[in-house]
Each structure stands twice: as structure tokens, then as C-alpha cells.
């Protein structure tokens, strides 16, 4: 400790008690000094005080009093450490600039993503509980960044748009063109050619069947094969849409020629196909891949002869019937991922019976070439045979026919029930005729000679009296019995006579369009002019039934005439 300054006060108050005592101080300095030799200078003042006190104690024992002058402040200052600044600088966190516009849809997207993630978590939890055994590591395949398959849907859409632009006029015609000249044409009508659907690889095959899709009315299926029995090669199944006429939507090459196809009315992704080699298949358009979903094999009841017609049933069970040359009408059902068959009927030639060994009557099987199911009565159906007969059968009676009609001289190519009138059906054959029947009568109501082998006939879905037929000389005939009972109201060549033959025809369920298939693998679409689409005046539902009923009355009158004619023919 270093003392810097000490100052004793020398002024004293007279009345002060210490002043009295201080007189004696000078006398007592020496003995006080002797007492405290070792004390430091700082304590001199304290010493003096003590000295005072000693003196005072010794002499007078006066109370000690504070000295208002002899006040010494004691202070000390410690060493101040030098101030040191210390700072630390870290590496700054990485920064990036972010900007976005808060739009309504961005907010919506964020919420939807959040929802999805939550749902996925829930599912994961559930699945974790369920399959702990089968924990497969799903490798996240990183799609290569520059992959054009990302735009697959857009590419498809664009193809259709490009086609729409290229064939813009046809598309407009399809929608809006109504031939105004029909007003001046009296009864006749015309067919306007629209798109032509061709596929390179199908050029060598002929169209053997056509079918519209009822749920997507712009979609249709084409079965390709060959009618030439000596040249049987491969076949093909194509599906087109009116929106894209340059390329089919689905292509299925098959090992044997396709002879018939049918698209299910409710589940329009299921397609039943019958082949030349007797097989029956069901394709599922929802699945990727070129193979059918179900196929019949030798063990599972495949036909031994070409299958000429397949028809889906209208009920919810996946059931269809097939008709073949081997005389069997088979009912197929898809049960538990398999195709199960049951023989519904055996077509037997009733009038010709051959004598087998030991005189036992052998029943020769007839060959079925077409069939059609009644729209209202589920169990009733018609089968046309190669011998030219039409049998009316029921699903409940498998051994007997309800009725047999001697229809044609050659094989019956097509039989079809009228979509409105429950008693009328139509049949056509290669014997150049188209015949209309009332199923109560054995003789046909109407017979039309078309001067060439008739490939196919179809009723129009919008009228009970309109039907169309195609012949091998390239003509399409459209008849309307309400307008003209004896002649077609439209007979139009659609392809060049010498080169191509027409094989099939189908009416679109909604649009006034027909598709016609030829033996060069191409399908031509035609629009019906207004004269061909005439509807009877008045209320729709009522009058349409009245039309044919009135005709039936007319037919009754003509019946005797026709019967005479029929007898004279035979």
C-alpha cells in the first residue's frame, strides 16, 4: 500500500474535548512512538488517535469524539485490468433468394399436398401393421431427367388435334352437314363419305366384324381376318376412334383370323372375340399388353370349328354366347378369373337323319353361322345356320328348338332382332336376299333381292323400319319400310366395284353415321342424309312402335300373297 498524502488538521475548537486532551499529546509522543514502532505511516493517524485514547485513558478517561476536521477519507484503487475486446465471426449460413406470388391456386395446391401426405401416412401405418412379413424394399427408380415419356398424354392429344386440323372439313361435315338437296329428292337419300380408317399391316386382311362401343360412341372395334378358307393366316384386332382416323388406338395382332367380336354394353373395356381356329377370347382394354385376358383352350371347351358369332349377355354377370360351325352354342362365363363354359345348345339337323351302324339314328349337327339375342326377352334367341335355316331357341330348352324357319338357300350370314318391335327380325344370306320375318309366322314378311351376295345387314337404332345392307359389289343399300316397301331408298356404291367387296356394316348408336368394312382391311364411315333418318311425326316413343305395328297389319294382308310366292319359289 502506498500512501500518497496525509494532512493533519491543526485548527481545533476551544470547546472541543479533544483540544483539552491534545495539550497532553506533545508530552506523550515519545512513549506512544515506543509503543508502535512497526506501524506503517498510514496508521499514524490512527496511532495518534490511539495515542489520544491511550493518553486520554491514562489521564482523564474522557469519551472519544469524532474529529470533524481530522477526517481522513480512505480510499484505494485497485489495479484496473486492461480492457480487451474479443469477437468471433462464423461462416455465414448459405443464402438463397426466394420469391413467389401467393395465388389462390398455389394455396389450394399446398393444402391438397398436405392432405395427400397425411393420407399416405395413414396408409403406411395401416400397411405396416398388416404386412410386416413381406417388407419389400421398393427401389425408387429415378426416371432419367430428359425423358420424353413425360409428355405421353400430351402427345396423344396433339395427334388428335393435328388430325382435327388436317381433316377439319370432314369433322365439320360429320357434325353439321345436312344435305339440303334431300328436300327435292322425294324419297331417296344419300350417304356422305367421311373418314376412312386404314392401317398398313391390315391391308391384306378383310374386315370380318365391326362393333361400336356403347359407352364411348366415337369408339369402335374392327376384327380382321380372312373369309378365304384356303388362305388362313394371322388376324388382327383394331380399335379406332373417330377422333383419330390415321392410326388405331389399340392394336392386337392375333395368331388366327378374327371372325367376330362383341364389345360389352356396360363394361366397355371387355371385348369378346371369336377366332377361325375355334378359340374364344376376352380382351381387357384396360390392361397393357397384347394378350387376351382369358382364352379358351382345347380342355376348356374351345370349338372345333370357326366361331362365327359371339354375343355378350345384357345382365351384370360376365356371360357371353358363341356360335360355331361345329353345331354347338356355348355359354361362357368369367368366374374367378377363369373362363368357364357350358354347352347351351346343340344344333341338330332335324329333317336329315343318317342311318348309322345297327340302324341307330345319328343326329347330324348343323353349323351355326350367326346368332342374336332378343332385347326384352332374355332367354329367347335366334341362330342362323349354314344350311340356310333359322332356329328360334330358348336358353331353357337345350335340346329342342322353339321354331325353325326355312330362311335361305345358302348359309345365313346375319340374323338380327328389330330394336323396337319385339316380333320382327331380319336375316341376310349369300343367296342375294334379305328377308324380314315375324317370329310367329314361318314365311318371311318381306324379301329383297339385292343382285349380289349380301354380306351384312343391320337395323338402325333410331327407327324400327330402317335398315341397311352391304353387298359384295360395293353397294350400300338403305331401306325404310315406312316409306318404300319394295325398294331401297338409297343404293350407293361406296368403294370401287371391281377392287373391293364390302363385308360388314354397323350403325352408330348415337350419331347418324354408319361404318362399313371392306375386304382390304379398311373401314369407311358414312353420314346418313336426312331422308334416311325420317322419324314418324308425333310423340317419339308411341309412334315408333305404332309404325311397325301398322306394318304388321299390312303384312297380314300381304301374308297370303307372300305365302303363295314362297311356295312357288321352293
Amino acid at each position: 500500500m502506498a500512501v500518497h498524502f496525509v494532512l493533519e488538521g491543526c485548527l481545533e475548537h476551544d470547546d472541543d474535548a479533544s483540544s483539552v486532551a491534545s495539550e497532553d499529546i506533545l508530552e506523550d509522543v515519545e512513549p506512544a512512538a515506543e509503543l508502535d514502532e512497526d506501524t506503517s505511516g498510514e496508521e499514524d493517524a490512527g496511532e495518534d488517535d490511539r495515542a489520544d485514547s491511550v493518553a486520554s485513558k491514562a489521564d482523564t478517561q474522557e469519551p472519544k469524539s469524532t474529529n470533524q476536521f481530522n477526517f481522513i477519507e480512505r480510499a484505494s484503487q485497485s489495479l484496473n485490468n486492461a480492457l480487451q475486446g474479443r469477437s468471433c465471426q462464423t461462416i455465414p449460413p448459405p443464402r438463397c433468394n426466394y420469391f413467389a406470388t401467393a395465388t389462390q391456386w398455389a394455396i389450394y395446391d399446398a393444402y391438397m399436398d398436405e392432405l395427400q401426405q397425411q393420407e399416405m401416412k395413414k396408409e403406411k401405418q395401416k400397411s405396416n401393421k398388416d404386412d410386416d412379413k413381406t417388407k419389400k424394399k421398393i427401389l425408387l427408380i429415378e426416371t432419367p431427367r430428359d425423358d420424353i415419356t413425360q409428355v405421353a398424354k400430351a402427345a396423344k392429344l396433339f395427334e388428335r388435334m393435328v388430325n382435327q386440323n388436317t381433316f377439319n372439313e370432314i369433322a365439320q361435315d360429320f357434325r353439321y352437314f345436312e344435305d339440303a338437296a334431300d328436300e327435292f329428292r322425294e324419297q331417296e337419300g344419300t350417304l356422305l363419305p367421311l373418314w376412312k380408317f386404314q392401317y398398313d399391316k391390315a391391308r391384306i386382311m378383310s374386315v370380318t366384324s365391326l362393333c361400336w362401343n356403347h359407352i364411348y360412341p366415337d369408339f369402335f372395334g374392327v376384327g380382321l381376318g380372312s373369309y378365304d378358307f384356303s388362305k388362313q393366316g394371322r388376324g388382327m384386332l383394331l380399335f379406332y376412334t373417330l377422333k383419330n382416323s390415321t392410326f388405331p388406338e389399340y392394336i392386337f395382332p392375333t395368331s388366327s383370323g378374327v371372325l367376330c367380336l362383341d364389345i360389352h354394353k356396360q363394361h366397355s373395356y371387355l371385348v369378346a372375340v371369336g377366332f377361325y381356329d375355334g378359340c374364344v377370347c376376352v380382351y381387357n382394354l384396360k390392361k397393357n399388353g397384347l394378350d387376351p385376358e382369358y382364352k379358351s383352350t382345347v380342355n376348356s371347351g374351345k370349338h372345333s370349328d370357326p366361331v362365327w358369332q359371339v354375343r355378350w349377355q345384357n345382365d351384370n354377370s360376365l356371360n357371353f354366347y358363341s356360335v360355331s360351325c361345329d353345331g354347338r352354342v356355348v355359354s361362357w362365363t368369367i368366374m374367378k378369373n377363369e373362363l368357364v363354359f357350358t354347352d347351351a345348345l346343340r344344333l341338330i339337323l332335324t329333317d336329315r337323319v343318317s342311318d348309322g351302324l345297327d340302324g341307330i339314328e345319328e343326329l347330324i349337327t348343323a353349323s351355326g353361322t350367326s346368332c342374336d339375342f332378343h332385347r326384352q326377352i332374355d332367354t329367347l334367341f335366334l341362330v342362323g345356320t349354314e344350311e340356310g335355316k333359322i332356329h328360334k331357341c330358348s336358353k331353357n330348352y337345350s335340346s329342342q328348338y322353339l321354331e325353325t324357319y326355312d330362311a335361305h338357300n345358302m348359309a345365313v350370314d346375319t340374323v338380327k332382332w328389330n330394336p323396337y318391335h319385339s316380333k320382327v327380325f331380319i336375316s341376310c344370306s349369300s343367296d342375294w336376299t334379305v328377308k324380314i320375318w315375324d317370329h310367329d309366322y314361318k314365311a318371311p314378311m318381306f324379301t329383297f333381292e339385292l343382285n349380289a351376295s349380301v354380306g351384312d345387314v343391320a337395323w338402325a337404332p333410331y327407327s324400327s323400319t330402317v335398315f341397311a345392307a352391304v353387298t359384295t359389289d360395293g353397294l350400300v343399300h338403305v331401306f325404310d319400310l315406312a316409306i318404300n316397301k319394295y325398294q331401297a331408298i338409297c343404293q350407293q356404291p361406296v368403294v370401287s366395284k371391281k377392287k373391293t367387296k364390302l363385308t360388314h356394316i354397323e350403325f352408330n348408336p348415337i350419331h347418324p353415321v354408319v361404318i362399313v368394312g371392306d375386304d382390304r382391311g379398311s373401314v369407311i364411315s358414312l353420314k346418313l342424309s336426312p331422308n334416311l333418318r325420317k322419324k314418324p311425326k308425333g310423340k317419339k316413343g308411341r309412334d315408333l312402335v305404332e309404325g311397325p305395328e301398322a306394318e304388321v297389319a299390312k303384312m297380314e294382308k300381304l301374308l297370303s300373297l307372300l305365302r303363295d310366292l314362297g311356295e312357288s319359289k321352293v
Partner: protein, 100 residues
């Protein structure tokens, strides 16, 4: 992959189509029938326009989505289809098609 390629080739084979461009998510043309400079020009301009169109459609109704943007001009028709972050651009010339 093959199917998309086939589809695009078929489209390009039609005489009236001038060309197609496939643009990836970064804005780089990955498949183009035009030369690079022209393709770049189309891409740059159409990307912004498509983003704007997309935003417009969704602002009107957030549940809606832009499917295709078609610009009919005097000489041509430009079609832009966004999908999965990629863009498919197609330019078609108007042709007087006569039914053969």
C-alpha cells in the same frame, strides 16, 4: 418411350406439321425438329405464356387445370401442352385439305 416417339413421328409425317419441340422442366428443348436457335426462341416465349395461361386458369377455379393452349395465327397454329412440368410444342400450317 417407343410409343411416344412413334406418335410424334407420325404427327411429323403429316405434311402440314412444321415441327415439334419437347421441353423439359428446366426449359431446355430435349427433342426438336427445328434448329436450336429457332427452337430456343419458341421455347423462351412460349414458356412464359404458358405459365401465365396456367395461372389464369387456376386463379379462376383452383380445381381446374390447363390442358392445352392453342394459338391460331394467320399462317399457322401453335399448340402448347404442359404435362408433368414438361412442355410439348407443335406448330402446324393451315392446309387446304382436299378429300382424296
Amino acid at each position: 418411350m417407343g410409343e411416344v416417339e412413334e406418335t410424334l413421328q407420325r404427327i411429323e409425317a403429316q405434311g402440314s406439321v412444321l415441327g415439334t419441340i419437347v421441353v423439359n422442366a428446366d426449359g431446355i428443348p430435349i427433342r426438336s425438329t427445328f434448329d436450336i436457335s429457332k427452337a430456343g426462341k419458341y421455347v423462351e416465349l412460349l414458356r412464359h405464356l404458358t405459365a401465365l395461361a396456367k395461372g389464369t386458369v387456376r386463379d379462376i377455379d383452383p380445381e381446374n387445370e390447363l390442358v392445352v393452349l392453342r394459338i391460331s395465327t394467320k399462317n399457322q397454329e401453335i399448340m402448347v401442352g404442359p404435362e408433368n412440368g414438361y412442355l410439348l410444342i407443335l406448330i402446324q400450317r393451315y392446309e387446304r385439305y382436299s378429300r382424296a
